[in-house]
């Protein structure tokens, strides 16, 4: 393999590593955002009477629609 080919291969794998890193980053961010929204909907919006009564005061504090 010539020096040129070697450096080309290095650049390619570097790009691939960057892509891989970006995909992984966005995947983790998406998981975090979805889990955050899931928790938020559960604690703030779930209609279950038990959840509502447990979270009642904080629902008022966070001004999500209550009752």
């Amino acid at each position: 393999m010539s020096k040129f080919q070697q450096s080309q291969a290095a650049v390619l794998s570097h790009d691939q590593a960057q892509d891989h890193d970006r995909v992984q980053r966005l995947g983790v961010a998406l998981a975090a955002a979805l889990f955050g929204i899931f928790l938020f909907l559960g604690v703030g919006f779930a209609h279950s009477e038990t959840i509502h009564n447990s979270t009642h005061d904080s629902r008022h504090f966070y001004a999500v629609p209550c009752h």
């Binding site: 955002a33 009477e49 005061d57 904080s58 001004a63 009752h67």
Partner: protein, 254 residues
């Protein structure tokens, strides 16, 4: 990366949830408990409620005759929609406080996860100060914008159907979030104008309002609660942003 995003969010959310619970004890909780007294009819001498029921919050007490069995946390407008008279609720006192602290922590972790997700997508180095900037966006999205249509309410307030208010609230928060992102990152006039229009849209449509006003709590108390709730949430978001940014930085590359 996973440990950084989730670790920072959980640490910041738990810490902020505990701290803000302490602040709530001084800002909103006393007003909320006072409003519940009116809701239960303690301050309304025309209502002769049984004393053993006096610590069970009841809504729309004025519409109840004295021999009507009470429903705990009865819904404003969709009565009988869920649960029943035997629905479980934490005992007043330490149990109720612990459940409230627990839900404050869940709120904290939930919002912190959205913050660390935003840090990660943005990809710019974050510290406590930059975390506070992102958190001010969260304050606008989850507190200021929805409060314009559906202000924080004390127990015993009159309100429109719960489902409609929940949909408006979530739509308003989502629209404000998208609009703010366009304003901040749009960089082109048409995108900025579009962002402003999206932010304004829920308020042009209008939040569901009750057919008539006249909750059980005095208006002064309700107004004080709305202000106390918004001010306390400004503190909440500032703390959450600072802790999220600081922990996110500390956990870098771990």
């Amino acid at each position: 990366m996973f440990k950084r995003v989730f670790g920072a969010a959980f640490a910041a959310g738990i810490l902020t949830g505990i701290l803000i619970s302490g602040i709530h004890q001084f800002t909103t909780t006393p007003i909320l408990l006072e409003a519940e007294k009116y809701e239960q009819g303690e301050h309304d001498h025309s209502q002769a409620f049984a004393p053993h029921l006096s610590n069970q919050p009841v809504l729309e007490s004025a519409s109840f005759s004295n021999d009507t069995p009470f429903k705990i946390y009865k819904a404003h407008s969709d009565a009988g929609h869920e649960g029943g008279d035997e629905a479980w609720a934490p005992e007043d006192g330490i149990e109720r406080t612990l459940y409230t602290v627990g839900s404050e922590i869940v709120f904290g972790v939930a919002f912190a996860l959205m913050l660390t997700a935003a840090f990660t997508v943005h990809g710019v180095p974050v510290d406590g100060r930059r975390g506070v900037l992102w958190a001010m966006g969260g304050f606008a999205v989850f507190t200021l914008a929805p409060a314009l249509g559906l202000p924080p309410e004390v127990p015993g307030s009159m309100a429109a159907d719960l489902g409609g208010r929940q949909i408006w609230w979530l739509g308003c928060a989502a629209a404000t979030g998208v609009g703010l992102l366009l304003l901040v990152f749009g960089n082109r006039l048409p995108l900025i104008v579009l962002g402003l229009l999206i932010i304004a849209a829920p308020h042009v449509i209008g939040a569901p309002q009750p057919e008539h006003f006249g909750g059980t709590a005095p208006p002064e108390l309700a107004g004080h609660f709305a202000a106390a709730s918004i001010v306390t949430k400004a503190i909440f978001w500032a703390m959450l942003g600072w802790f999220s940014g600081t922990f996110y930085k500390k956990l870098a590359d771990s």
